[in-house]
Structures are given as structure tokens and as C-alpha cells.
């Protein structure tokens, strides 16, 4: 035995002891959805690689948003990693509430993150959250019903075609609604849909002086078109339908078309769907004005400034949003179940290209530009939201007025008048006007 052997053994023991001494338990706040729950199941892989343990706090999306906002604004320090979206990230980054992710390792390959995602999760060019999965929105339609109606869905349909197709596919006797869309109040529910749709009609939330724009013809056209089409071809009670209600209807064969999040593609083609074999995909519709009605969103992992476990938290983020994690999920659960919409390399993978909705998801994401989302110039970043702190509160109230109009409790004109007043009043109080 040479001197080298005991030296190597001593060094190895020292390294193990040192990593044990630095092993941390990090607390992660996250949302309850399929991809996030799947990630929790693979935590052991992270622990085996780094020695760090993970505690999960899983909450419903809106509860989580309130919880992490309270914690970060008061520097509570309850969490080492927070799951946040594209709305919060630029605002919190600008306030220096988040740790900049500007020193991720070379192996992580930060340049592989889809540019649209990296852009939406940055402030002043600095990345503040790493996308775990990303989504846009697109048309999911029943190929059999479309064929029966004698129509063919183009890859990039217009709103006029969608309305015509919806009417043609509607079969009230057999409980088939030509189209299912979100009408539910809430800025992230019906509010997100109608805002993205309004972009394609030439509408915007604010002009360059932060004046509300609900008194414009573009907004009246948006709401009248939506309500007219849904009254003709939508399900009864659509004013209270959100993502889950429409997913349920589509999976039971009761919708001809559904325009919603691209992540839903794996649900409507999965085991829980009765129509999995007859689903096609197309880009979200436009109106010939140069903007489509698709949105852009990402659930991303960010580190609150002030955490004592920044190094371990960064290690976790690198693990969870890495190419290796995607491969880990693909190896165990198939390519259709990997977290989509975050990395360019995923869409270059020949195996993933076989997934029926992969290309349309990528095309939808690439066609969304949060920095240039409206036909007329607007002062805000964001497609289905305006990335200002006041937006969530205002948009929730506005979407309640819109839902009341869908339900027939007031006219579209009354809803728009109220939306204009609510928005201008709030923006004035916040000092924008």
C-alpha cells in the first residue's frame, strides 16, 4: 500500500464530511399541477446528487400567489425557492426581491432556454427565474367533427373561420358545443383569455399615458364577438367556465374546439380523454391585424433575496430545469410527459418531435411576444396581463364585469363602461395618471 491510498481515502472522507456539513434542507413553495407533482416524485434524485433535502409547500395557485407575495414583501424568509410566473418575475426582479440567476453553471446551458421564456422572466436583461415549464395557447379541435362539418382547419385560422366552424359543429341535440372558452371571472382565468383575444382585435389595456382603453371600438368588437359566438355555439353557463370546466367538457366529447393553454394538449390526448384519438391542433386565431390571440406563460423557479440557503437553492433550480431532468422524466414516463415549453433543445429532439402537439406548441410560443403584444403601442410588458403590480387587482374586477355581461346580467356596453371607470380610478389612485 503506497502513501497515495490512505491520502485518497482521507480526502474522500473529508469531501463526504464537508458535503454532509453543508447539506441543507430547502423549502420550496409550489403550485399543484401535474408537472410540479411529478417533479416532487423525483426529489430523491436531487438529494442523491447533492445531499440536500427538500421540503415542499404545495398550494392552490391563487393561495400560493398571496402567500409568497406576503412573504417576499415582508422578507419573511419562509421559502428558499418560490414557484412564480411571468407576471410576478419582472416586477419582483425590478424591486430586487429576487436573486439574479446570472451565474448558473456552463453545463446548465442557460442559452438553451427559449428566448421568449427567458425574456419574460428577466428584468433589464437579467434572468430572475428559471422556467420549469412554459406555455402559450392554441386551438385544440375535434378532427372528426370538423370533417363531419365539411371544413378543414388551417394551421393559422382567423376568428371568422373559428366562429363559422363553431356554428357548423354545434349539435345541441347531442350536447356538442362548437366551441368552449373561458368566461370565468379572475385575471388568470377569463381575464387572461379575453385580454389575449383583444390583442388580435387591435385592443389594448392602456395607451402610452396609462389611460384605460375600454371605451374604444376595438374592445367593443372583442367583447361583442366573444359573447355572440359563445351564445351561438358555446356551452350553457360558459360565464362560469374556466380551464378545468372546459377540459372536462372537451374530454367528454362535448366541445368541437377549445382554445386554451398548450399544456392541455397532453391532457386531451391522454388517458383521461374520451376523444384522445381525434384531436388536432392549430395556432390561436387572429383577425388579420398582425397579432394572434395566444398568450405566453411560464411557471418558473426563483430564489427570494435574503435566503440563507442560496447556493443549495441554485443547485435545485439547475437540477429541476435542466436537460437532464427532462431526460429523467422521458426515460421513466415517456416524452409526452416531460415539462414542455422551456428549452430549445427539447424541440430539436427527434423523439419529442414525434409527440403530436410538440411543433404547434413551439410555434405558438415563438409567435408570442410579451414586449410587443398589441397592435397600437402600449406602455406595458405582457400579453394576457400588463406587468404592473396593480394589474391583478384591476383585472379581477374588470373580468367580473365581463362575466356578468356574458351571463346576461348587464350589456356589453355597461360592462365596458364600468371597466373603463374601474381601471382609470385605480390607475389614478396608484399615481400612473
Amino acid at each position: 500500500m503506497t502513501l497515495r491510498t490512505p491520502l485518497c481515502m482521507a480526502s474522500a472522507a473529508a469531501i463526504i464530511a464537508a458535503s454532509a456539513a453543508h447539506a441543507e434542507t430547502i423549502t420550496i413553495a409550489t403550485v399543484n399541477n401535474g408537472d410540479m407533482i411529478r417533479m416532487q416524485g423525483y426529489t430523491d434524485d436531487f438529494t442523491a446528487k447533492t445531499g440536500h433535502e427538500v421540503e415542499w409547500v404545495t398550494l392552490e395557485e391563487n393561495v400560493l400567489r398571496q402567500r409568497v407575495t406576503t412573504d417576499i414583501t415582508t422578507k419573511g424568509g419562509s421559502f428558499d425557492i418560490m414557484t412564480i410566473g411571468m407576471y410576478e418575475t419582472p416586477i419582483w426582479g425590478a424591486n430586487e426581491w429576487l436573486v439574479p440567476l446570472d451565474d448558473l453553471s456552463a453545463e446548465y446551458d442557460v442559452d438553451d432556454i427559449l428566448p421568449a421564456m427567458a425574456g419574460g422572466l428577466s428584468h433589464d436583461g437579467t434572468l430572475y427565474a428559471a422556467p420549469f415549464y412554459g406555455e402559450s395557447s392554441m386551438v385544440m379541435y375535434r378532427t372528426d367533427l370538423m370533417e363531419k362539418a365539411g371544413l378543414e382547419m388551417p394551421d393559422a385560422p382567423t376568428w371568422d373561420f373559428i366562429r363559422e366552424a363553431a356554428a357548423a359543429m354545434t349539435d345541441r341535440d347531442n350536447e356538442i358545443n362548437g366551441i368552449c372558452l373561458r368566461g370565468k371571472a379572475g385575471w388568470g382565468e377569463g381575464g387572461a383569455f379575453i385580454t389575449a383575444m383583444s390583442n388580435s382585435f387591435g385592443a389594448r389595456w392602456f395607451d402610452m399615458d396609462w389611460n384605460a382603453q375600454f371605451d374604444t371600438e376595438a374592445w367593443a368588437n372583442t367583447l361583442n364577438f366573444f359573447k355572440g359566438m359563445m351564445d351561438e355555439s358555446g356551452p350553457s353557463g360558459y360565464a362560469t367556465n374556466g380551464f378545468n370546466e372546459n377540459l372536462n367538457l372537451f374530454n367528454q366529447g362535448k366541445c368541437g374546439m377549445w382554445i386554451d393553454a398548450t399544456v392541455a394538449a397532453s391532457f386531451v390526448t391522454g388517458d383521461g380523454s374520451t376523444v384522445a384519438d381525434s384531436v388536432g391542433f392549430a395556432l390561436a386565431p387572429d383577425n388579420g391585424l398582425g397579432k394572434r390571440s395566444n398568450w405566453l406563460w411560464a411557471w418558473a423557479l426563483a430564489i427570494p433575496a435574503g435566503t440563507q440557503k442560496e447556493a443549495a437553492a441554485k443547485q435545485f433550480i439547475e437540477w429541476a430545469t435542466s436537460k437532464e431532468y427532462i431526460e429523467l422524466v422521458a426515460a421513466n414516463e415517456g416524452w409526452a410527459n416531460v415539462p414542455p415549453g422551456a428549452r430549445t433543445s427539447l424541440y430539436e429532439n427527434p423523439e419529442y418531435q414525434k409527440v403530436p402537439f410538440a411543433q404547434m406548441t413551439l410555434d405558438s410560443i415563438l409567435s408570442a411576444d410579451p414586449n410587443n403584444s398589441t397592435v397600437e403601442p402600449s406602455p406595458y410588458v405582457g400579453i394576457q396581463f400588463a406587468a404592473i403590480p396593480e394589474f391583478a387587482g384591476i383585472a379581477t374586477e374588470v373580468s367580473q364585469e365581463f362575466s356578468a355581461a356574458y351571463a346576461g346580467q348587464q350589456t356589453v356596453e355597461e360592462a365596458l363602461e364600468k371597466a373603463q371607470a374601474i381601471t382609470n380610478e385605480a390607475m389614478e389612485a396608484a399615481g400612473y395618471r
Binding site: L59, E60, T70, N244, N248
Partner: protein, 276 residues
């Protein structure tokens, strides 16, 4: 004189009472039934009532994903601790208000009740900052204090009402026999007000068990009770109704069982003093 009630009337009243009871219980029954369905059966249209393949799969998934025992233990400690602490504060307070009232007693009672009208979110930030300063975030001790404070007005009011029903002459007789204040409260007043105290305890325990604003906002991992357990299965993007129902059933089961066994005591306490 008791009114004669015809058997036909009795039958109608009984039927009506059962119908109302079932109507109130139906959402709980539906939740329990859904917890034994698959996700696809849970959202089936038209809904399936009993004709489905019963499965325990959702309970298995929930048990695998979450540390149910930890959430349950936290709920028991927080609800139980706040109830006991609340009684320790409220019994002397209610005693003084019932037996040695001052000119301001009624005002104080009304003021205490008025604090229940304040929306909780209005004081979220001050309480949160206090908790950070005192190191009470995500601690059972912090939640016990908050639960005790928010339910204190109700406990004091209930005990005050019960104590008012006890003849003051009995307490005076005890004092004549040389009982100290402590003995008077512990050995004379408390045994006489046991039904009232028991129902107050039960009600406070149920309120603390079900409280979902503070328990969600002031906890993370260590002190999170069953309300946080349920919240972790709710999702606006994904159909997890069967699992959510299983989690809900597991969260409400202990309190349902407790309520079932103590319903006689609860009703006796709540109607205590209603008939003179």
C-alpha cells in the same frame, strides 16, 4: 299545556326534518363518495351516484404524497391548544362580567364582538411582521396564540351567557362558607357550567380546526395543519377532484367523528338556559 300533535303531522315533520338534514349533509356525502371514484368518474356527466367501481387509489396517492400524520398532529395541537388557552383567559373574564359587572361591561362585550367584524386580511401584514420579529412564523405556538385571540370574543360571549344563568345566590353562599375566589370559580361555578363550557370548548375546537386564512398564511412546513393539506390538492389547472375529495375526507373525518360522539353535549350546551 302541551299541544296535541296528530300522527300525520308528526310524520310530515319527521320527513321534513330528514329531508333538510340530508340536504345539509349531501355535500359531505358527495365528497366522501367522490373520494372513492377514479378521476374520470369524478367528473362524469351525468354524475354517477353509487354505480361506480369503488377504489382506494386516491387515498393511496394522498398518503404517499403527503405526510398526513404531521398535518393531523398540527391540527390537534393548534385547535386543542388554542381552546385550552382560550378557556384559561375567558373563564375569569366571563366570571367578572357576569357576576361583578361594571358600567362599561356591556360596551366591552360589544367591542369584543366588533373585532370579529374586521376582515382578517386587513391585519395580515401587521401580524405577519410581528411574527417575523418574534420568530413565530411557521410555529405551532404562534398559531395557537392567533387562534385563541380570534376566537376569544366568541368564547367570552358564550361563557358570559351561560354564567348569567347561574343563580348568584349559590356563589354568595359559597363565599359565606369561606370559599376563596379561586375555589368559587373552580369548585362551584365551573361544575355548574360544565355543559356550557363543554359546548364552548367543542365549538371553539371546530372553529380552530376549520380556520383556513391564518393557518395558510402563517405556516409553511412545520406548523401546517389539515387546512394546508387540503389546499395542496386544489388546482385550477388540472382535474384532481377525486384526490381533493380524498384529502378533504381525511381532513374532516376526525372532526366529524368528534362531533358525532359529542352531539348530545353540544346540543345540551347550546340550548343551555334557552328554557326557563
Amino acid at each position: 299545556m302541551a299541544r296535541a300533535v296528530t300522527s300525520q303531522r308528526k310524520l310530515i315533520n319527521t320527513g321534513l326534518a330528514w329531508a333538510i338534514g340530508l340536504l345539509i349533509f349531501f355535500p359531505i356525502l358527495w365528497t366522501i363518495l367522490t373520494s372513492f371514484k377514479t378521476e374520470a368518474q369524478a367528473i362524469a356527466s351525468p354524475p354517477i351516484f353509487l354505480g361506480f367501481d369503488w377504489t382506494l387509489e386516491n387515498y393511496g396517492v394522498v398518503m404517499e404524497r403527503s405526510n398526513y400524520a404531521r398535518f393531523l398532529w398540527n391540527s390537534i395541537l393548534i385547535a386543542g391548544g388554542s381552546t385550552i388557552l382560550g378557556l384559561i383567559v375567558a373563564v375569569p373574564a366571563a366570571w367578572s362580567m357576569a357576576f361583578v359587572p361594571s358600567r362599561r361591561t356591556k360596551d366591552i362585550l360589544l367591542w369584543m364582538l366588533s373585532t370579529k367584524m374586521l376582515p382578517a386580511v386587513g391585519v395580515l401584514y401587521p401580524i405577519y411582521l410581528l411574527f417575523i420579529q418574534l420568530g413565530l412564523l411557521d410555529s405551532r405556538a404562534g398559531l395557537i396564540i392567533v387562534m385563541m385571540l380570534i376566537n376569544l370574543p366568541i368564547i367570552v360571549w358564550m361563557l358570559y351567557t351561560y354564567f348569567r344563568e347561574i343563580p348568584v345566590e349559590i356563589l354568595e353562599a359559597a363565599r359565606m362558607d369561606g370559599a376563596t375566589l379561586k375555589e368559587e370559580v373552580l369548585y362551584i361555578l365551573t361544575p355548574m357550567a360544565i355543559p356550557g363550557i363543554a359546548s364552548t370548548m367543542l365549538l371553539n375546537f371546530i372553529l380552530a380546526w376549520n380556520e383556513a386564512f391564518w393557518t395558510l398564511n402563517l405556516t409553511a412546513v412545520n406548523a401546517a395543519p389539515l387546512t394546508a393539506f387540503i389546499a395542496s390538492y386544489s388546482s385550477p389547472e388540472g382535474l384532481f377532484f377525486a384526490k381533493l375529495s380524498a384529502a378533504s375526507t381525511m381532513a374532516i373525518a376526525p372532526i366529524l367523528i368528534l362531533g358525532w360522539f359529542s352531539q348530545k353535549q353540544l346540543v345540551r350546551g347550546l340550548t343551555f338556559g334557552a328554557v326557563k
